[in-house]
Symmetry: C2
Subunit: 329 residues, 2 copies
Amino acid sequence: MSDTLGPTQSKAHIRSVSHPSQQGTAVDLIALLVAVTSGDPRVLTIQDQHALPSGPFELAHRSLQSGLRAWVERQTRLPLGYVEQLYTFADRDRTGTADQRIISISYLGLTREQAEAGQYEASWRSWYGYFPWEDHRLGVLPMEKRLRSGLATWTAAAADRATRSDRRQRAAMLFGFDGHAWNEELVLQRYELLYEARQIPEALRGDRLLAPAANTATASADPMILDHRRILATGIARLRAKIKYRPVVFELMPDTFTLLQLQRCVEALAGKLVHKPNFRRLIEQQELVEDTGETSQETGGRPAKLFRFRRAVLAERAIAGTKLPISGA
Amino acid sequence: MSDTLGPTQSKAHIRSVSHPSQQGTAVDLIALLVAVTSGDPRVLTIQDQHALPSGPFELAHRSLQSGLRAWVERQTRLPLGYVEQLYTFADRDRTGTADQRIISISYLGLTREQAEAGQYEASWRSWYGYFPWEDHRLGVLPMEKRLRSGLATWTAAAADRATRSDRRQRAAMLFGFDGHAWNEELVLQRYELLYEARQIPEALRGDRLLAPAANTATASADPMILDHRRILATGIARLRAKIKYRPVVFELMPDTFTLLQLQRCVEALAGKLVHKPNFRRLIEQQELVEDTGETSQETGGRPAKLFRFRRAVLAERAIAGTKLPISGA
DNA sequence: AAGACTTATACTCAACATCAGTATAATAGA
DNA sequence: TCTATTATACTGATGTTGAGTATAAGTCTT
């Protein structure tokens, strides 16, 4: 414990009252809406799938969150089960213009894909289209080789030896090279490393020395405008962490489902496979679901029991928390 | 998995470009600066200790975070070791005026109390002054009885039976009544329950039917302006969660320290005591610290080895994470 | 100087959660 | 009827966690 000084007081400098409104400050809400459909985690996109939907900050609402909820439900008619604030950005390089600054408050919302969504120029796209290196369900990545070589080039390009070693180690830890374990939660860190290594399309914008990266590791990834890929990375990371201790997966499931469907949903989000017996044990031990008495025959094998989420746990454990096993297959 | 529709497209409604600047929208940065001194977690406050320092949002900086950092270091000369964004608020009831809305972006910063802080009309105050019910280091709370009776009154005041049962259970789970375990991370939920139960001073503002709560359970708690107590609750919760898996405690420690000093710091933050042998085991197992070769004689007993934080772990485990045991004593 | 007291440090053990593998049951389709 | 596929149930090894105990090395008191 640092034993310096106790409370001190003297001249004023720091203000606590509200500061005058800034000129040219606009406030945007950005919605990252997630659904899981046929084993794919999908996000709602607009404008040729290059952007996340965004809406205005409205004074009328009680809070930011209720404002976002109202706006999304009005525009898309999607029932938003779970909403949480992600992050507030105001980076200068977002817009390009230096005098006008946009503050973006981003939110994550969980829902289910519905027919109604078709009313708008919006579409659901797999988030692995934007982050192909985040899907480890099939074992090794198809792009693994290009990824490694791209990062190796970046590593070798460092000025001094220490930096090279540092880069190599960071890349290895984040991407699971050299015997390091893959950690599915480090989505944002991987994004940032790839950005730094100029392996992400938008990292090259405004850089006239380099041609639009034709052979970067992520050339196969879909494009996104502004910093929307960063917001998506933040959301994926948050959701992957959250499903482990909060029963939010059920917001993405239909009313009744089999245990394997639930498992596939978790695997879709986590981007990796899980051990079936252990997954079932944890789900049942924690009494997260209840038997509906019905069975599904659409499995191709032995019919599976249909379960339903025990809504009661939301009251019981709004607090206590739950556990989902995201471990090895 | 919900098997509804795949990607869909049609008429436009949702916008992705930036929206026009709102009239009357001001943006504030609020800094929650934390230090631990002589076994007390302290926050920097101003204006008779009723407010957190806040500063303007400046266009000049690269990012919000760097803007906050520059502003704090300029004003207080405190070196900010660790900074993280907490939450963005824009609740209507914050200010009272309906037409002018303030957006508050709050940040948590870790530092050490220093003599230089005395240049300003600012002082370090124990956060348990604002949250007396959050300190469980001495076993039972002095205010325990008043807290229980205040919550019991609120429980009894519910209209129907189901609500009463619900309130009782929530209170029991959050505050550890009826054999429930105390969970130190639920700071924000406890604050919200007390607010709902009108046991927090500021919950009664603008309520003319009730006199300024003289005998609420939290009458002994220091006052705070606006929603600053909520921001503080958010910060305490975040920090209590964070120290369990990231080596951020060391930002609050002097250069060299004994293991017991480190333990006391963790206990101060967590608001509960930990098991000494287990604490030491985890610290040493994980190689978070290294021996300086020196010892401290100021312990009152056998001299203790002085340790130093292994800065290398920041590079090694910027990613991997660490574990601190916050369990029973 | 002896003894009490305080703190540091090292070790042990039981309970529990987690990881991984295996065996059996019930259906569809060839 | 056989095979493939999925559901469901059980078992053992391993690691983590919580809690207790014993000894070492100083200070303080009398």
